[in-house]
């Protein structure tokens, strides 16, 4: 008897059928990978299973009984524990990391009513120890970088007594090291009989973990593949076409560097380094969590100042004091964690797809102050077709888009206007394999600027970039020129 | 600096007296305080003024605070008898002399100074009858819960029962940050709904000001007459303005009442006898009289109408006669 049996599950949002008669099974001691392009309905399925909202039609049987959770609490109580896709659903500002780790325990009353600081710390530390993560327990949760939030969500979920564990893109902002630790833990749990539903766009994850892969397409489960999983075939089922080689032709760097850093020091004590990026070049920076990727990019974007050294943009000294400054100089950045850095809350003015796109370009697109005219709509429509964004229209509320499609909108925003240097911090979080190659092609089709990408996934780095730089302790270390050779994780210094 | 020939302790000066108000904001109370301060200065009194915020509980604290400060006398300016009765008794027990203004503490040791709200309302209403006869349709402005207004209301109710031909067609009123304008908004609605209102009794000058504004806005200033209580410089200007429907107000001079209150407590401290009830008589100010006398400000009024600026209530030969 399967642990979980999903039959003809459907769910619509307005005119969108997010789930259309989806079927799925998982058994004890099995890891099932759920694959699917952005907007295929994966998160919708997860949300129904975890009691966030109900299905319109269809049945779920869990442990043999009909199961229709009315609230997240009910699902957790029944033994279904979920790590949700978006990181803004993990903890709350004002709470410490330790509290965030124990939030489930508070909610299900397995912690005593009265708490002492030392007990909270001890219990939180135990949760971390069990998974081997290291996090600052006393810090405010809101101060955590995206990756650490993801670690909190994972550690917390693993600390629950569960029979079914659902992970919706848990490695989206993790680096190789943490990912591998997660694999170890999941395999151990699986051996203990836990059933795991695992969603990811990273083939490496699935290769390491999946016993079976269910591929979703347009709200249905379009195919199930047993181990050894034929990924090429699975991907074809997923995106409906063969994946063309994502790596574009390498091009020689052209002319003078667009951007240079000289003798630059990001933080006191860090080793100074030099960097130059040429026109038409895509440079990726990779490194462990907290190695300084985001710091480097945001320093270039004017959020911090260098403790030492100079920056030059097209040979002119460049020392931005604010993002506004940087943008005016022709530098744009898509920051990591789209919810915090790019999106408006639901129902708020500016929360539509087109408005998300236009926010930095208002002055350019509407030089006459008033927002009359169709520019926004046109730009949105063109982005939707160019990047195959799945949305109900140019003014669809951004919160109704699937995670990967939201990310595409964020990229489209900075892609819409020319510039000199484009900074992308973890740009492919949650973007499916097919879309990633679309985006890379779109980005590279413009040769008028230089692109600097920060990513914690080395494979991704080699896939998109002409040149890959390695960063460690806030200092750039080595430079590897990408070529067609397939680099494996082991080749990188760690 | 003491006063020569004054009884102890005023011969040495520096007598500590507390003035504890229920409400401090507004012209009436400021003027009352000013009068009290002026009188206190002349008597060499170290007057401690405790601010009132319409907070009865806080007034209790303040009386206790005054006891802590070791004052010789306390003047209580308005308040709720229930909430301060027992602390006042504590003060009396501690040998402190207490005088109350417009709050009936029902305590034989505490004389009460009254400006007599009943009297104020009666004077204004009598003038209304004199001007309009005993039969008219009236508008009435009232908000319950403010002690002086409640007392004036009692007179209005009595007046209505004595004059059955007077019909109250509309009753309205607001007390807020913008009492006058809010009242005028309501008055406009009331006038529009009741075109036959000829007389408005607005026993608080802010109310009268609002009603006048409404009458002006609606262009019916020549058809209604407003009778009110209280007076200030601004009021005098409004009353005497050309075509003003505000024809009379009854008032006491709050500064005088303040001075009388201080004198009463000073006399008690000096050991003299003070009557249990000290009434400061209000005067009726009509539009015609004010215009004829050419009165523009309260100071003019005081100069031209001595009965308004002085009171011979509770005084003694060692107390200087002239106040200002």
């Amino acid at each position: 008897m399967p642990l979980l049996q999903v039959d003809k599950l459907s769910r619509s949002f307005g005119a969108t059928r997010a789930l259309a008669d989806a079927d799925l099974q998982t058994s004890e001691g099995e890891i099932v990978a759920l694959m699917g392009a952005n907007g295929a309905g994966k998160s919708t399925l997860v949300n129904i299973l975890s009691g966030v909202f109900p299905a319109d039609e269809g049945t779920i049987r869990f442990k043999g009984a009909v199961f229709a959770p009315q609230s997240p609490a009910e699902a957790v109580h029944a033994g279904i524990v979920t790590v949700h896709q978006s990181l803004d659903r993990v903890g709350a500002p004002g709470l410490t990391v330790a509290d965030a780790l124990l939030l489930n325990q508070y909610a299900n009353r397995s912690e005593p009513f009265f708490l002492t600081r030392s007990r909270v710390k001890r219990r939180a530390q135990a949760i971390l120890d069990a998974v081997g993560f290291d996090l600052p327990l006393d810090h405010d949760f809101a101060d955590l970088p995206a990756a650490d939030r993801q670690l909190v969500a994972i550690a917390r979920a693993l600390a629950n007594k569960a029979s079914l564990l659902i992970l919706d893109e848990p490695t989206a902002s993790l680096s190789g090291q943490e990912s591998r630790r997660l694999y170890d833990i999941l395999l151990r749990l699986k051996a203990k009989g836990l059933s795991i539903l695992y969603i990811s766009h990273r083939i490496a994850d699935l290769e390491a973990l999946a016993d079976r892969a269910a591929v979703m397409r347009s709200g249905r489960v379009a195919g199930v593949f047993e181990r050894p999983i034929p990924f090429d075939q699975a991907i074809e089922t997923m995106i409906g076409r063969k994946l063309s080689a994502a790596r574009p032709d390498a091009r020689a760097a052209q002319g003078v560097p667009v951007f240079t850093m000289h003798d630059a020091q990001l933080l006191p004590g860090a080793e100074p380094f030099d960097l130059s990026v040429h026109q038409g070049e895509v440079v990726a920076i990779t490194g462990a969590l907290g190695a300084g990727k985001s710091r480097l990019l945001s320093t270039i974007f004017g959020l911090h100042s260098l403790t030492r050294g100079q920056m030059y943009l097209e040979s002119q000294p460049y020392a931005p004091t604010s993002p506004g400054n940087a943008i005016a100089a022709g530098v744009a950045m898509a920051a990591e964690d789209r919810h915090q850095s790019s999106l408006m809350p639901p129902d708020w003015p500016g929360s539509a797809l087109a408005e998300t796109l236009s926010l930095p370009h208002l002055a350019k697109w509407y030089p006459r102050v008033f927002l009359f005219g169709k520019r926004e709509r046109q730009e949105a429509e063109s982005a939707i077709t160019r990047l195959r964004i799945k949305a109900s229209g140019p003014f669809a509320p951004i919160s109704t888009l699937s995670g990967g499609n939201q990310q595409k909108v964020v990229l489209a925003r900075w892609e819409a206007e020319p510039g000199k240097l484009l900074l992308l911090d973890e740009p492919f979080q949650g973007v499916d394999i097919g879309a990633r190659s679309d985006i890379i092609r779109a980005i590279r089709s413009r040769t008028d600027r230089a692109i600097l990408i920060a990513t914690s996934d080395p494979e991704e780095a080699f896939e998109v970039a002409d040149r890959v730089l390695f960063i460690d302790r806030h200092s750039l270390k080595s430079s590897l020129v990408a070529d067609t050779t397939h680099h494996t994780l082991e080749e990188l210094p760690s | 600096a003491g006063i020569e020939g004054a009884p102890s302790p005023f011969d040495k000066g520096g007598v500590k007296i507390a003035l504890i108000s229920y409400i401090s904001a507004g012209d009436f109370f400021q003027s009352y305080q000013a009068g009290a301060k002026a009188q206190a200065n002349q008597l060499g009194i170290d007057l401690r003024i405790f601010p009132g915020k319409q907070n009865a509980a806080e007034q209790r604290e303040q009386i206790q605070q005054a006891i802590n400060l070791g004052v010789k006398g306390i003047v209580i300016d308005h308040g709720l008898p229930e909430s301060i009765g027992d602390v006042v008794q504590q003060a009396v027990d501690a040998g402190i002399k207490v005088v109350a203004f417009d709050v009936n503490l029902n305590n034989p040791a505490v004389p009460q100074v009254e400006q007599s709200d009943h009297e104020l309302a009666r004077l204004a209403l009598e003038q209304a009858v004199k001007d309009n006869g005993g039969s008219f349709k009236a508008g009435y402005v009232y908000v319950a819960g403010f002690a002086p207004l409640d007392r004036r209301n009692e007179t209005w109710e009595k007046f209505k029962s004595e004059n059955p031909a007077v019909v109250e067609k509309a009753r309205f009123g607001v007390v807020s940050d913008t009492t006058a304008t809010s009242t005028s908004d309501q008055a406009k609605a009331a006038f529009t709904a009741n075109r036959d209102i000829k007389v408005v009794f607005a026993p608080y000058d802010e109310f009268a000001r609002g009603v006048k504004l409404a009458a002006r806005d609606l262009g019916i200033a020549d058809k209604v007459k407003i009778y009110s209580a209280d007076v200030s410089t601004a009021d005098i200007q409004e009353i005497t303005e050309d075509g003003s429907p505000w024809v009379a107000t009854a008032a006491t001079n709050p500064a005088v009442v303040g001075a009388v209150s201080i004198r009463a407590v000073a006399l008690k401290v000096a050991g003299a006898d003070v009557p249990l009830q000290i009434v400061v008589k209000p005067v009726l100010l009509t539009q015609t009289a004010l215009r004829e006398a050419g009165v523009k400000t309260i100071e003019d009024l005081a100069a031209k109408l001595p009965s308004f600026s002085t009171s011979d209530a509770v005084t003694a030969d060692w107390i200087p006669a002239k106040l200002f």
């Binding site: 929360s351 926010l359 | 309501q186 709904a193 601004a234």
Partner: protein
Amino acid sequence: MTSFNEDTHPLPSNISELSARQDSLARTLQNAAQKGAIFILLAMLVVGFSAAQPAFINVVNLMSILQAVSVVAILGAGVTITLAVGGFDLSIGAVAASSVMAASYSMIVWGFGVYATLPIVLAFGAAVGLANAVLIVRLRVPDLLATLAMMFLLTGLQLIPTAGRSISSGLILPNGTTSTGAYDPHFLLIGRYSLFGTIPIPVIIMIIAAIMLFVLTENTRVGRLLFATGGNEVATRLAGASTARLKTMAYVISGTLASLGGIIIAARVGRGDVSSGASLLMDSVAAALIGFAVLGLRRPNVFGTVVGAIFVGILLNGLTMLNIPYYTQDFVKGVVLVGALALTYGLGRSRP
């Protein structure tokens, strides 16, 4: 404040209950009912009051309703703007109250006329807004706290020049001199004159201010950025906008509008009257918040604020016409508010 939005979205809408299952006619109707709840109620009120008291519906009375709400609507628009940038201006009531004092002081003590007084008072309001902005933007004091402190400060400050007395001609200053100025008759016209004998100047000011602010917030670049600041300040900064400047702008506009409200009050009353502005604050906040419900937008919006102010104005005027005692009026106001809100927010959200 973002929290308003979050409150109305127990879960972000991509995971929230949507009513797609219901057939579309019922849904459209419900939608209309929800968006129009306030208007339907308004219509019912107007019809009811007119039936009970025909004088209610005549132009003069309707104008006096508009006149009565003009100050609250103008102040409410200021609150709306600060709500849009994710802030909250608790000082507007006090700014309006002290503007009344400032206008009176300018004319009566300094003897200025209307043309000097107006800029002085408006500059005063703008300056207070700027001070709020400095506290909030530079010193990072939370909005509510900064403007509350400013409220206390102004409540006291306005009384100091005259030692707590109200200002009218012949005022004796604390230093003993008697002031000789008077209200400029032209200034009084601002509060008392009616265009074509029907439309009072305050109503015209309200309409102009409302249109300007409506266009600013809904149809301009700056408006979009103002809302963006309130929606996600970080994202707005990262998009290159100066949120510090936008917030400052919002508070300066709010302060200036409050002093404009104060000017109208001064011109109606004709003297500098002492008050804390507390009830003005509450009424304007109410208007701005009711505005959320108008059109079912669930966010601050200038149009809604003005409608909200008018809604309350109609209610109070009608009740007064029916000679309902004042204490029942507050109650009715509360009941109608609760009803309107429940209708707007409750509809189409059957699930807890």
